[in-house]
Amino acid sequence: MLSDARDLPGLVALQDLLQIIMREAELRHVPTAASCSADAVELVEQIVLQQVADVELAFSRLTEAISRLDESTTEDGKCAVAPGEYTDARSSVDRDLIAAWVSSCETTLPELEHLAVGCEDVAHAGDALPDLKRRIHTFKGECGVLSLDRAQRLCHDTETYIEEELECGRFPVDAVLSLADWLRSLMAALAHDPCAAEPDDAFARTALHGDGEPSARVEAAEVQSVVVNETTDGDDLIVLNFDAADDNLSDFVGEAKEHLANAENAVLQLEKSSADPEHVNVIFRAFHTIKGVAGFMNLVPVVRCAHAAECLLDRVRSGRRALDTTVLDLVLVSSDVLGQLIAGITGGPLPTRRAVEGLIARLEAASENVEVAKSSASEPTVSASVAKNDASALMPATEDALHPIPAATDPSARVTAMRRGDQTVKVSTMRLDSLVNEVGELVIAQLMVMQDPAISAVVDQRLQRNLSHLGKIVRDLQETSMSLRMVTLKATFQKMARLVRDVAHKAGKKVQLVVEGEDVELDRNVVEEIGDPLVHMIRNACDHGIECAADRRAVGKDETGTLTLRAFHSGGSIVIEVVDDGRGLNRERILKKCVERGLLDVSRNPADIPDAEVWNYVFLPGFSTAEKVTDISGRGVGMDVVRRNIEALRGNVEISSMPGEGSVFSMRLPLTMAIIDGMVVRVGTQRYVIPTLSIERSFRPVENDLTIVFGRGELVRVGEQHLAIHRLNRVFGVQEGVDDLFEGLLLVLESGKRRACVFVDEILGQQQVVIKTLGAREALRGVSGGAILGDGRVALIVDVGGLLEEAASRGHDRAERNGMQVHGKSSQGAQS
């Protein structure tokens, strides 16, 4: 069962389970079980703390203790003492704990899926397989801690199923993936409400066929009575017999929910302040009303639950029972169970019979036996503190969420991370963003002080030293604050692995995904935004790009298509490429479609249209060359989404494609959305910031290198290449600045495949600037934002890609309109 002392999460989870068992055993007066579980808890603790000399021996003793525990309980399975009670345990489990787990699962689930896909080829799975098993096991343990018993059982059954399949040399990827899907739906429910009922697992279970459970499917035919399968006896779901056509039913559901909410509110009030009898009355009335109406509707389980709770409250009200935490907990649990039952009427998942019966038994016990209730009164608090201590077991996963690489893959790293549970702190993104903004302001303020004429006039060594020290601290602070927002692409890429597999299966193709550069870091905002575009591009590549196996064979390609997802730095940005080795874009078909839709100028010869322009048409909304719309793609929506999202991030998308060889979709994205390293340049009285990384070099032109092409403007020779010269003042329409090319500076700028020279008066210096929006709603071409410089004035930040495009198109227009004039003017400028 357990053989790995390093499987710390598993151990901690086990310890927790045992503690819950111990508590339950004490509560139910099963002394043997209680002592056995106490022994086991101690043993596990020793193993966890590494206080045992002989781990093997400790494990055997532990196994023994657990088997004794097994015998002493009449229930089946080591952790099945009272699954029904787990619902109760859940309300005592710290909500934060659930929230922490949910957020950690956001990373661990994709990793699980990734591993599962990696394990598909059992022979080459290597370390992935044990890792995967460990992770499912960890999930199981964590679900146990959080009293998510259905999830725990599903994990368990999946584990068993994997073992069975592996013996036959197969790996059940689908089962693991459907487990992951189910867990994800659970996450969604829990994120919304920590006490939410676990979703129905019937669908997830269908993947586990062969696990011999007769009740593995929901009979959809049963409308009147909702019955859902469960594994063990007594775990079958409560059956509510109701007349779905009853108009009063929906009224009842709405009212009951309101009553329960009131009751819960009152309980919370009672917890906060001393016992106000009015609050007890509120709760009592709520349960009583529900009971009455439910009796009228013949909803027997609801009536029984409400009745039991009411009895308990009646005793409290009459002073025969002290109002302590047990009562309050029980009231909350009853409210949860009732809520679940009522939700079941409207189609929600129903609680198990065991949960309901267990609750009723406990309610009755609490109202009859004051002693029992009192002795157990302290228990929930103990367990709550235990749960809190064990929060550290879940916290490392939170760290994964921030830095998904190191902790997740290396078990020893996980262990150390767990030891010091305070290594990561969950911070709301709003606070993080405001910190980054404020640091940005600090940088500006610091620069303003540094560049203040009054300060620079002071000749004092100490002041200068202190100022430069301040400058250094501010820079460090800025770097740190920026790095807070950086995350790797790993999680995003892992999601895509799953997508590729699903889409390829659906399309009946063989596709292998190659991922490169998943460790590239990007601003969190950017990473969040590129998910959608990537999904669309990958779907397209799988569905349209890569051919089916037969077609590939026919053209002499490997049957398995390769899809490469690649991320790398280039210039001042990050490039993410989706490369497929499929058939490439079909130029003829795109052009035909363009003609059909009247997008092309009729006078133009289609053969003359450059490829780049043809490819651009696929980004148009509603543009699709697909003959039929499949459920994967073909509506012409995807690429429009891609372009919109990327442009919103100040990035761009480019396509290159070779018929028969495949296509490359590359997205160019800014590294961060907040701060850039910029070169401040001057044009007349205006200053502009050009991202340093886009500047290849700067130089003063020599006459010999300048060429004036008739109708095309000025060119300058840089190395072996002739580059167009764009005068910044003309592109931006500023009526000032140097006109003589020999008096100013030429900057060689590069963006994507474009390269050109931009003419400015001079370079003023390099500095980091905080990008601010200009407040204008419309994006301006060539300007990506504004920066406040040291003197408090605003300088525009040049968007090099946009600028070069704008300048090129202007040059084109101008050349077409009045090439002669331009030529005359610029030659004058060059000669004067």
């Binding site: 709003m430 606070r431 405001s434 302001e441 500006i444 100028d601 322009e613 651009n616 205006q686 592109v731 931006f732 329409g733 500023v734 601010k772 929006t773 200009l774 407040g775 204008a776 709603r777 419309e778 994006a779 301006l780 071409r781 060539g782 300007v783 504004g786 406040i788 408090g792 004035r793 605003v794 300088a795 525009l796 495009e805 198109s809 084109h812």
Partner: protein
């Protein structure tokens, strides 16, 4: 993140202030800030005026209509500045020491808040113009879009044109700019 987020219900001390603010708001409902452009007097609702500042350094923006003067730094925030003279096709004049920028806040139909500056010749005063003294914008019987005129306020025989500031650089205007930009972009794409 701001101090304003502090819950007010718990502290009884804040309640009277809130009422005070509300009272003040009601009192300000019909107040207008009047300013001059050339010989004409205009007004904007005082509730939309955030502050009045002197003319600071303005950085021009490329590819914008002439009446968009550019952007300026308002205590760390960059805001666009328009020149109302140029917007209303009055001849441009040199800035005097009376020239100033009215910082206006407006919320458009989509609920998006914008802050922008408007350069005016001079600021006059805050005037109370009750709704009864405001007449709807005139109809010239032509297609001139007058959406930016909120009404005509009559104060002591004089008529003040009350401006709807969200419409001055109105959504229609914005749409036109956006369309022009889109058209330019698509023509470029086609070129």
């Amino acid at each position: 993140m701001s101090i304003v987020d502090r819950p007010s219900s718990t502290s009884p001390a804040i309640t009277p202030t809130n009422q005070g603010v509300r009272k003040q708001r009601d009192a300000n409902e019909h107040k207008f800030l009047s300013f001059c452009l050339g010989t004409e007097t205009y007004g904007v609702e005082i509730l939309k005026v955030r502050e009045i500042i002197g003319l600071l350094a303005i950085t021009p923006l490329p590819q914008t209509p002439p009446y968009v003067r550019g952007v300026m730094n308002l205590r760390g925030r960059i805001i666009p500045v328009i020149d109302l003279r140029l917007r209303f096709a009055l001849p441009a004049v040199e800035a005097t020491k009376e020239t100033c920028v009215i910082v206006l806040e407006s919320t458009d139909s989509e609920g998006e808040q914008t802050v922008m500056g408007a350069v005016v010749d001079s600021v006059r005063e805050v005037q109370d113009i009750p709704p009864s003294a405001i007449e709807p914008p005139p109809e010239f019987g032509c297609e001139i879009p007058l959406g930016y005129i909120q009404g005509m306020g009559k104060v002591k025989d004089k008529v003040i044109l009350l401006l709807e500031i969200a419409e001055v650089v109105g959504s229609r205007e914005r749409q036109q700019i956006a369309q022009a930009a889109a058209a330019a972009a698509s023509s470029r794409a086609a070129a």
